[in-house]
Each structure stands twice: as structure tokens, then as C-alpha cells.
Symmetry: C2
Subunit: 360 residues, 2 copies
Amino acid sequence: MTIYNFSAGPAVLPKKVLETAQSELLNYRGSGMSVMELSHRSSLFDEIICSAESLLRELMEIPDNYKVLFLQGGASLQFSMVPLNLAQGKKALYVDTGAWSKKAISVAKAISTLDVEVIASSEDKSYNYIPELPQTVDQAAAYVHITTNNTIEGTAYSTIPNFGKVPVVADMSSNILANDYQVTDFGLIYAGAQKNIGPAGLTVVIIREDLLNQTAIFAPMLDYALQVKSNSMYNTPPTYSIYMAKLVFEWLKDQGGIPSIFEKNKEKAKILYDAIEKSELFKSPVRSDSRSLTNIPFVTGNVELDKAFNQAALAEGFQNLKGHRSVGGMRASLYNAFPLEGVRAFVTFMEKFESEQGGK
Amino acid sequence: MTIYNFSAGPAVLPKKVLETAQSELLNYRGSGMSVMELSHRSSLFDEIICSAESLLRELMEIPDNYKVLFLQGGASLQFSMVPLNLAQGKKALYVDTGAWSKKAISVAKAISTLDVEVIASSEDKSYNYIPELPQTVDQAAAYVHITTNNTIEGTAYSTIPNFGKVPVVADMSSNILANDYQVTDFGLIYAGAQKNIGPAGLTVVIIREDLLNQTAIFAPMLDYALQVKSNSMYNTPPTYSIYMAKLVFEWLKDQGGIPSIFEKNKEKAKILYDAIEKSELFKSPVRSDSRSLTNIPFVTGNVELDKAFNQAALAEGFQNLKGHRSVGGMRASLYNAFPLEGVRAFVTFMEKFESEQGGK
């Protein structure tokens, strides 16, 4: 049985990448060592981390005045690092678009010296849309924090707002490398790797150099400027995850890069959204202008029926479709590595299930 | 050519572990998914992390009143987390036995509210011994921090000091699972995985539950109590590294556990120390009562000769022998996975090199 893995993260990886990792696992390029066994100070690993950075720069067209960091701790640690580094003595502005935005806001608020303001929210409608943002914001603010894609609620920004001198800081964990965002629209981008980049345990940060903190943070591991100065090697980085990310970046380049994968992602999402629209059984809880390409929740409106659907889907090899407990129903995560044929097979299965339920 | 990898970390892993990882890489237990692709909330991953914890508990005989955490950020992040969580309003005591102790001390000192005191140091002799410790310390102190094994300088504690009510906190990164320490001698143990546990990017923390912070830390990711409450899943943990750690723990159990590996480590170290003692070319910079089993530096006293030795060794497949820049010469890291036959082959090579140099 073919398995299609709809997990929201850690998520499906390109098969070709896993095959390369498998073939090199005991002996990387004739070294007689696994990548996991390489010293992070070795020339072999140096080549891996440098390639990973240069491939990411090429794929995302990252200008030279942006630094790229390979860190640990996931987006959750960035929730603390961003305000600690960027908002020293300044106000921090947040847009509240879902569970992860909410966490970012509450972690920022836990810093006693920080003045946090939420400038827009879609909480009034269970976060089922991206709210309109104010045309202007306090130009003395440190940043406006947004979540470009809301993994749980299935919403995404199609255009990135501009707040003049105030930089946009983005949690891009669930659609980095999947949308055609321009890096120059952001002051700082961060993303946990476990959706579109590689295995869990790696966090990518892209920061415009003028935003680097001028004064040291008390905890060296949380200090962007120090991590930049150390080329992400203030201490031992997650070497194997960086190697996997490099393989994923190579694969993505082979796919034609972001313009090409973005078209494929739109095609995959359209097939599923069209099936949901056509259906009389399933519906999308998300307002049509705010829908994510990478995370697509849908419900029947009947908890028992959702459960029956999930069980039937699992029996056919459609894994990890159960919706997040806060939304319920189903959620299909269609990251870059999720194959088009998997979406087609799944839509066929949805139609079959619906007809068996006596739907149209 | 057989490769023997003397890297100080990331370091050699058991071949059997790498072979299992390779065979399961694309299809873990018939799931059709890689471990890297498993949701951290899936039952398959739950079984992995629970097994990893229970194997570690069994190997180290960790009592029930100690919690085990699988975190990120390495020992360097623990340098901040330990004082933030444990020393709220209390004095923190440190023993300075080398480069990593020194870092731990300087990171603790960077916390402006913290009162840090160094109670013993071996800096006077380039850290080539473990200093005598005071019989008594201020019983109101939060902890005494020690580094059980000094990776760079090649020293280790053979017995763990006792300071009455004041718990010992240990950075055990480079000899966890390699020595026969008793967990009950410590209040908290932390270790980066990349030496004796698995790939870089995983940090193990073992904490006695009465030491868990009662008040929350401003950064949730740095909060031991919250991480305990979340079973190391406050956010997505480094799933693949935890899987690799589980495989290493299984391997170690198959080897007879810690009593058996400790004997093997003593045997491996003795072969190398005896060769150094016997030699007229090489010498150990470390005082004989303080020598590490896992990291063995040695020098010729001649920088050019050290270089020639390292080059000749490399040509014979002995990798990563170059000593840390602060000590120079050579360093052989003999972690659990380093094979006995590798030490024998290396000692033979040392003798050959010495005789070619006109040594005895």
C-alpha cells in the first residue's frame, strides 16, 4: 500500500533525499564516516554547512545584507529570541492570527521589560481569516510580528504588509520555501525545519544585518549577533539536520526552485480546495481569500463522521489527517515534498467516501 | 583502509547503530515513513521517546525522583538554563577545571542578578589536574557546578564530591554513560549528545524533582518545570536524534551496560596511557591522578613533530587526532563506540612512528 503522509510536521520528506541519506549513512563521500560522526570543525562538514547556506540564498534570493543562521530550539525559542534581541527598549507589535501567533505574543509578554501591543487579530472568528492591518503603525516600534502561514487554522498571507521603517518579523515555519515571498519584505524570518526544510531540531533564521543587536544578550546561545559572528557555530550545531536540509535544498533546486514548486503547490491545493467546494459533505472553515496552500483543514460538521472518515482514510494509507484538536475534523498538510499523485488519490478517496455516505 | 575516528565530538557511533538506522531510513517498522517524517505526536514516535527514556533510566539506574529531559541547544544553553532555573535568589558555586567550566562560569556571570563564586580552580597549571575542593561550602548556595570530564584538557573526576545539602550540578557531556558515576551523587546532570549518546542537536538533562523551579522562567523553552510537565514536548523535539539515542542505548545495553563499557573504556585508555608512558617521544600533559578515560591529549613538545605525526596518522586512517588549539599536539577521544582494535592499531602506529624518528 502506498503511504501518503499528511503530517503537519515533522512531515514528509522527498524520497530522493531519503535515498541519498540512506546510501551515504555509513560512509559519506568515501570518508569512512557517517555525517553524524563528522567533527563540526572538519572540512567535510564545513562544505556541507556552506553549501546549505548558499543553496538557501540562491533559492530564496537572499540579498547579501541578510545573514543566515542555522540554530536550534524551533520557532518556540525564537518567540523569546526575537524580542530579546530586537526590541531592547522599544515597543513590539504583533498580529494575532492563530494558536502560534498567540504563543509568540504570550512569550513576548512574559519578558517583563517589554511593551507588547497586538495591532490586529482574527480571534473573533476562530482565526478563520487574515485580518486587515492598520495602514500605519508607531514608527518607533521595533517590529511587527506576523505568522505568514497558520499551520493549525489553515490561513496564510498572500501579500506581505509594509509598515514603512518598522520591519516585518515573520514566523514562516509552515510555508518557507513553499510560497513566493520576497525576503526583502521582511526584517527577520524564522522557521522550524520540520515542515519544508528537513528533520526537527533545526531552526533557520534570516536576519537583515542592520537589525542585529548592538548589545549582547545575557545568554550567548540566544544572541543573534554572536551566532552571526560564529557562523552558527558558537557551539556544536545540529550537523545531521543541516546535512538533511542541504539535500532538501538541492532537491528543491532540481525541481526548478521556488517559482516551480510554488506553481506545483498551487496546483495541489487547488485540487483539494476544488474537491471540498464541490462536495456536499466536506467544507472548509477558512474564508476563501485567506486560505493556506500548505495546510488545508476541512470538516464534515459531524464529529462521528469526521472520525469515520479519518479511520477509513488511514486504512487506505492516508496518514496523519486528523485535524488539530482546536479545529477538529481533518487537516491535509501539502508541503513541498507531498506528491501531486497523493492529492489526486486522496480526492478520489474523498469522493468515494462521500458517495458511500449517500452524498451526491 | 579502516578509518578510526578520534573526533572529540560529534564522534564515532556504533557501526551496528548506523546499520540499523540505514536499514530503517525510508521505512520505519513497516510504516512506509522515515522516523524523520513521523509526527512527534504519533504513537510510533511516542514509543521511541518512551523507550529512549526507559533505556537511559535502566543504564544509569536513574531513580524515580529524577526527571529525564530531551532538549536542544547543547551544554552551552544549559550554562544559562541551570542558573536561571536553580539559582533564583541564591548564590551559585562553580569549580573551574578548563575551557568549558570557564564558559559555564562566564555565562552564569552574565546573568546580572546572579551571585557567582568560583570555589576551586586548576587554572594555575593550565588545567592539567582536578583541584582539591573545599570540605564545606555555604549551605545556602543553590548548587556547586562541576565539569565531570574536561574534553579539551583531558582531565576527569574519579570521585564525585559531596557538599551536604548543596546539590552537585554536572556538565557530563564528554563522559556520560562512559564512567560509573551514581546519579544520586548529583542534583542535576546535563550532556550534549554528540559524544556518547548520538548525533549533535540533542541535550539530555537529568534533574532531581525537588530542584525543579517553582516559579516560571520568562522563556518557556528554558523552563525545566515546563519541559518536565510537557514530557520534553513543549514544542517539536529533535525526533531523529532521539531515535538515534534510543538505538545507542540499546547497543550499550547489549554491550553489558555501563559496568561492562566502563571496564572496556579503562582497558582502552590504559593501552594508550601505557604507550605514552613507555614512549620517549610522547608525553601526557595531564597529572596522573586526574586523567580522563575518554579524552587523552598527548604531545611531543615539538610543534613541527606534532604536525608530522598528525599527517602520518591521517595517512593511515587515524582521523581527527589534532589536539585542541589551546593544548596543541594530539588528542585521542576514546568514547564508548571507539573500538578496542582501533586503540591497538594506533599504539602500534605510534611505536612505528617513534622508531622511525630514531626514538628508542
